[in-house]
Symmetry: C2
Subunit: 582 residues, 2 copies
């Protein structure tokens, strides 16, 4: 491809709403353009990267025997009603009506469709296992789309689904996907971390997230030298009961006129936040529930939803709370709570004596609260947001943390969907059994953002070899110099014949601009023909090495091919990253 023909409008400045380095560089380099909030167009350079990543994912899927299909983007509502997710999925699901007023969703995921297709076809356990995948656009109506390609509303996903007659067979497939995902990240040469994860609205029994490590990753990951690793949404807490050497006091109503938050109450009453019981009201599928957690801890909503098996749980608004309890949020507490509102408590409450909590009366708190004496707890749960330094639930050592960008997520769904949608096969004894399912997502477009977040320097992007839009750029420094142009075209044609994707910079622009653009776009190797060509010298520079190599072409172009191969062999984007680059 000749750069003069390539539609790749580069910009000096990124637009002001580009909020992360990845989207800034992708827009500046002419890879993508925003069409609406969270909605992008991939220009030729961006499209090339997208296709290369898609192809890596496709190869690794095919390698583990998954078969490619293509399901519709618009999905009829009826199927989602069967699983209850039409109502449960929440406002992130985009919905529309056709001209006959039938409802459809723009699929955020395809469990319903695939289960529906296969339930009409699968008859016997002998037809299992089956593993199918697709690479297609998905939709999620983010309330605030941001972070460029990483939290957009339209995005390219690979989603795979497997069907089994036993959990053992699912485990085998799950392991294959696990290693295929690791392989994808290794081919891209990215630093990553696989963590135990929360299954969210997809559901199921077990899940793992594949995260690309990056400074501004959205996910917080906790990990330990012992091998334990989990997302903060999932990380379990190694609970040790509090031992307080004091006798339980009597319940005492105290006036706390302006004290509503934990900070205000601790300051006013002169107690520690570890003595406070925080009481939060949540609204879910079965009405309201009160959630208790110690004042110094943070509630993990994902753990709450998962352990209550209710993905619709959301914190009640102050207005809802007031209507329910006739008291402002700051004075809500478990003592004297009306019947019919279940109380669930985080383990941090266990063993607490003489605690402080809202009195359900404006301007008042109780002191001397003793759980189980002063109110009943419906369920003890692990609801704490685990933090750096907390004990590893596996070995007890201090947990470390990192930031990551989730690019892959695999789930053991079990029979969640096949039970609800009556997807079954007959087993060897002729009994109908629900098939056991797994599902496996990979964010293809998101991977572009993740790569750029991890691999860039002050000059621009640094593409891994397998994802680079072009392998080599041949820069003709002065297009008006006939010898330079002639030689540039010859080298360009030669390298193409060697199987490389080559870009020939034949634009009528300054050499400075050409070098800047090559670095910005992040092409792994630049072959430059400039003034030194008069002495038969061509400059070859790797994007990941400081110094160029000078090659003589007086005896032909062979040395260029050899040098390019050497540079590719030792190409390593990570080697040039400096902490200050962003």
């Amino acid at each position: 491809m000749r750069f003069s023909q390539l539609y790749a409008p580069t910009l000096k400045e990124a637009p002001s709403d580009a909020d992360l380095v990845s989207i800034k560089l992708l827009i500046r380099g002419g890879f993508v353009r925003k069409v609406a909030a969270g909605v992008y167009t991939y220009l030729p350079l961006g499209f090339r990267v997208l296709k290369k990543i898609e192809e890596i994912v496709r190869q690794e899927m095919n390698a583990i025997g998954s078969q490619e299909i293509l399901m519709p983007i618009i999905q009829p509502a009826e199927l989602w009603h069967e699983t209850g997710r039409w109502d449960d999925y929440g406002p992130e699901m985009m919905k529309l009506q056709d001209r006959h007023e039938r409802f459809f969703t723009l699929g955020p995921t395809h469990e319903e469709i695939i289960t529906h297709i296969l339930r009409n076809e699968l008859k016997s356990y002998k037809q299992l296992p089956v593993s199918l995948y697709q690479i297609a656009m998905k939709y999620r109506d983010e309330i605030r789309p941001r972070f460029g390609l990483m939290r957009s509303r339209e995005f390219l996903m690979k989603d795979a689904y497997s069907f089994h007659d036993s959990w053992e067979s699912l485990d085998e497939a799950y392991k294959k996907f696990y290693s295929a995902y690791s392989k994808i990240l290794e081919r891209l040469g990215l630093d990553y971390l696989v963590v135990e994860a929360d299954s969210g609205a997809i559901g199921g029994n077990e899940s793992h997230e594949f995260n690309v490590l990056a400074k501004y990753g959205e996910s917080t990951l906790l990990y330990c030298d012992c091998g334990y690793a989990a997302s903060d949404e999932k990380a379990e807490y190694l609970f040790k009961p509090i031992v307080q050497n004091r006798l339980p006091a009597e319940l005492e109503l105290v006036s706390t006129p302006q004290s509503r938050t934990v900070e205000e109450v601790t300051a006013f009453l002169g107690v520690s936040s570890r003595e406070i019981i925080k009481s939060l009201i949540y609204s879910g599928r079965n009405g309201y529930v009160m959630v208790l957690i110690r004042g110094d801890e943070e509630l993990n909503e994902s753990k709450l939803k998962a352990s209550m098996n209710d993905q619709t749980l959301t914190m009640a608004t102050p207005q809802q709370v007031f209507e329910l309890l006739k008291v402002p949020v700051g004075f809500v507490g478990p003592v004297g709570l009306p019947n019919g509102i279940e109380i669930v408590a985080d383990l941090s409450i266990k063993g607490l004596k003489n605690a402080v909590g809202g009195a359900l009366k404006e301007g008042f708190h109780y002191r001397g609260i003793l759980p189980e004496r002063d109110f009943k707890i419906g369920k003890w749960l692990d609801l704490k947001m685990v933090k750096t330094g907390d004990a590893c639930p596996k070995c007890g050592k201090s947990l470390k943390s990192a930031k990551g960008i989730e690019v892959g997520h695999i789930f053991k769904l079990g029979t969640k969907y096949s039970d609800k949608m009556e997807g079954s096969v007959t087993d060897a004894q002729g009994n109908a059994i629900s098939y056991v399912m797994g599902c496996y997502g990979w964010g293809v477009s998101r991977t572009i953002g993740a790569i750029v977040e991890q691999l860039h320097d002050k000059d621009g992007m640094i593409w891994p070899l397998e994802a680079a839009p072009f392998d080599i750029i041949v820069t003709a420094v002065n297009t008006k110099d006939e010898e330079i142009m002639k030689r540039s075209v010859e080298i360009y044609e030669l390298l193409k014949k060697w199987g490389y994707d080559v870009l020939l910079d034949d634009r009528e622009t300054s050499p400075g601009m050409k070098f800047k653009d090559a670095d910005l776009i992040g092409i792994p190797v630049r072959v430059t023909l400039g003034k030194k060509l008069a002495e038969g010298i061509v400059e070859i520079k790797s994007r990941t090495e400081e110094k160029p190599v000078m090659v003589s072409v007086n005896d032909g172009y062979g040395p260029i091919v050899e040098e390019v191969e050497r540079l590719f062999a030792r190409y390593n984007p990570k080697s040039v990253l400096k902490p200050e680059d962003e």
Copy 2:
């Protein structure tokens, strides 16, 4: 791929709502499954064909220097308001709202988006021409989705757009796309016809449709030995004025109590349909218009819309007509029409004397009508639906007709979009000029349906080599016979090494079923290992030849590869088609 692993559930019977042979065979062969009306899933076999066609289209686009991009499926309404098409496009456009109640459309086409993207980037005529394309899902909310993949609501399209600083430059690009489209159809080995076409809601100055010929094609094509060819929506009429050797009579009101249709009036009054003036009321952007055409001719709505430059024109309902004229539809006529309703007339009215038409009075018609004396005609237009046997507008000979399936459509848009959306560049003199555009659509998923409509016999599909899901099927007749299985796997592996896409039928099913499925799926060459293997004989059969070839493998598998190559070289699906096959 092993057939035992392939997810390709074949069926003996197609579902009752499959209305054409192509969708019947595609469902029976396990290529696709319907998810909702006009919404399909592509199973592995269908997906393979889809990808192969996509790749042919991609190669031909790249070969003419068009660059691949990817635009969003969801498009913000604001851009469509700029061109007025948000309102003009009609109910076939699927619309939705996001959670912030902003409107989007599921793109039926992308002129607005591409013009928007480029207007922010293009500055100078020096940056032109630019040619970009994408291959992506498109949406059209058909009122009655039917004909399987040919009139579905979600479909895969290739859409290309070109930008120019002059009409001459557009003409060049248009010619390139024209020949690229011809090449795609030639690579697929299909009989096709390119016709002048109506531009419809896309607009512009000139367009051509690429049609695959098929018995049940939706489009009627008119063509002549002289080279003229047009769709019936577009075909022009070679007008010859009527010469009637009679004096104009006086206008006479006659009672025609139950006569409303042309047939009823001609029968009642004893006149020819050639003497009747049919008066039709249309409703459009500028209110109502009366359209006149001779009683023996049919109105061509596409020509009406195009010549009135109003794509929103639709025939008024009987109720609308009654509200407007206080008379039932059957008695509507031009004489005495209230002011403010424009009359446009087809050329067939020209020269008519003593004609008959509705009297705008229930139960009455006029005789002796003389156009221009008894009513004013606002515009004379060519509105006639041209039929087989009508004179060719180019040479005057009789037109022939054929049925076709439109797979490609190319348009000279001119400045329709760049004018409305302020897309301009500066020319050599520094003046701002709207860029001249072309757009070029190809129905990728529709091509699958078109191929099967044209190429099938009583046994199933007959894929062209470049679109076949597999090139070769190796049929192991008896999988329990160790020698057969061992040899089958060896031949399968060998043919794969030779670069063929090979399917190994290793299913535990009857030989009859295996042969039937191979023919149904339409794989070009079948290599069969059965009883004759004991004598070292393997049978090789082309899907397009009656007789198999026997090959000895006693001296190795070389002869198999040679014979397969010979069969491919003379492979010709058209050769086996018989008129009765469907």
